[in-house]
Subunit: 248 residues, 2 copies
DNA sequence: CGTAACCTTGATTAAGATCAATTCTCGTGG
DNA sequence: CCACGAGAATTGATCTTAATCAAGGTTACG
């Protein structure tokens, strides 16, 4: 299957590109579809280009020697990933000496991607200042996210991190997310605001730098404090003020 | 004081730029010198441009509500910092609505910087593809570093993190560091390899995501295991194999 | 309606933070 | 050259958070 140019324009990196360049991209990229749980690439696997996510969700994660997993980043449609090696290891890429720096797994069924090979892409980049600037903006955003991620891992306990996560889900997604999720949350039902978790609790634990059991207990604590109410994947916000207070 | 063009060329971002552009940069940038412990900017302070480090060392760090500090990044001469807002908040910069996302402190005497204001710099960037590509490479490198940082914070205990730090100091600095440090370490003395810590143990603890007391105890453990020997700022490596074994 | 995946709960342990008291080191002035 | 004092580092005792181990419960879905 080949994607239409229109679909490719859904990737933020390519929204402002002209039709002929778009056609080139379409020509040299490959399309793939994954089921939930399938691996896109492993850490240390040979690098074969970067990914654009069209549909679904992808987790980027590391695994420790002992087998514990930590999600470094969640990717939503319209965004790209595994683009880092392009710019600091370009010479090695030409000699096929580069590896993916992380693991990537689809965590939804029907996760669709296009894979863009490095060399033709660098050609596009070379001719398109807009793409260049968008890539810079992309990196800036990611650095900001990662900085916040580090800060919350090192300076905040699990309860605070969870509170922060719930709040970030609540305060309407900054364009990182697709419509689908936007519609889902936050919503009101019987006068209660709620969010709908779009990842498993296992993945949420891993994203918050903890384990499933601890997450479960932390949810319980927040419920006991009448801050939230957990019903399966739905989390009702009972006291937003208190929730915000956790993070100063 | 104004820096010479030659000095500005020491900044990796500007090594390949032409003389007239260099002169422009020199003209609109300001020079500053700091003593150990002085603040370059605080988290949330109004953004007034990015920094190029000429001499000394700068720590970029966050502080928790409770007062605990975590160093997110150490900057060495030749490198730039606080450049992130340029690319994801440029419009807000024009309206003076942007803040520094982190704290920056000089941790050496005679720390010298130049400060580059945003708007004229974006002009330079717009006309110089090389600068653009270097900025991309810079971001890639930083993302890689941050990824590793997160991974070690979340998946490794303090002993492993310390071992990793010592090893990274040992395996000769990848250009991030200036000559000075390169000469200092690693060295041999009475047939023993050693490194010389170039930051205080307080800062090292903060960089490793722990506190001084825990760092001290961890050094002790590594000494008891005959892996290293600590003499003030000097760390002798007694068993490099064992040191490497900690990180798989 | 049965099974697998997902999640919760309890008991125990371990790592590391906190609090508190010294000790060490090194630069400065007498 | 020595003494003093401040900042830096060490050590001990205790407490807290979260990981681990183990078992049981829930939910979704064929």
């Amino acid at each position: 299957m080949i994607l239409s140019r229109k679909q490719i324009k859904n990737i933020f990196l390519f929204t402002d590109i002209n039709e002929s360049e778009l056609e080139k991209i379409r020509a040299f990229s490959t399309y793939k579809k994954y089921k939930k749980g399938e691996i896109l690439f492993f850490d240390s696997e040979p690098y074969r280009g970067f990914f654009c996510l069209m549909e679904g969700t992808v987790k980027l994660y590391k695994i420790s020697k002992e087998g514990r997993e930590h999600i470094v980043h969640l990717v939503y449609p319209g965004n790209i990933f595994a683009e880092v090696p392009l710019f600091d290891k370009y010479d090695e890429i030409k000699n096929n000496q580069v590896e993916y720096p992380i693991n990537a797994m689809a965590i939804e069924d029907d996760t669709e991607v296009i894979i863009i090979p490095s060399i033709p892409f660098m050609d596009i980049l070379d001719k398109n200042k807009v793409v260049c600037m968008k890539m810079l903006a992309n990196f800036s955003k990611r650095l900001r996210t990662l900085n916040e991620h580090i800060t919350s891992m090192t300076l905040q306990d699990v309860k605070k991190r969870l509170a922060q996560y719930i709040l970030s889900e609540l305060e309407n997604f900054d364009g990182n997310r697709k419509q689908k999720t936007l519609i889902k949350s936050p919503k009101k039902n019987e006068d209660k605001i709620f969010i709908e978790l779009n990842i498993s609790k296992y993945d949420l634990a891993s994203l918050l730098g903890t384990i499933l059991e601890t997450l479960s207990r932390t949810f319980k604590k927040l419920q006991e404090e009448k801050v939230i109410e957990v019903k399966g994947k739905r989390i009702y916000i009972l006291n937003q003020t208190k929730l915000k207070a956790y993070n100063s």
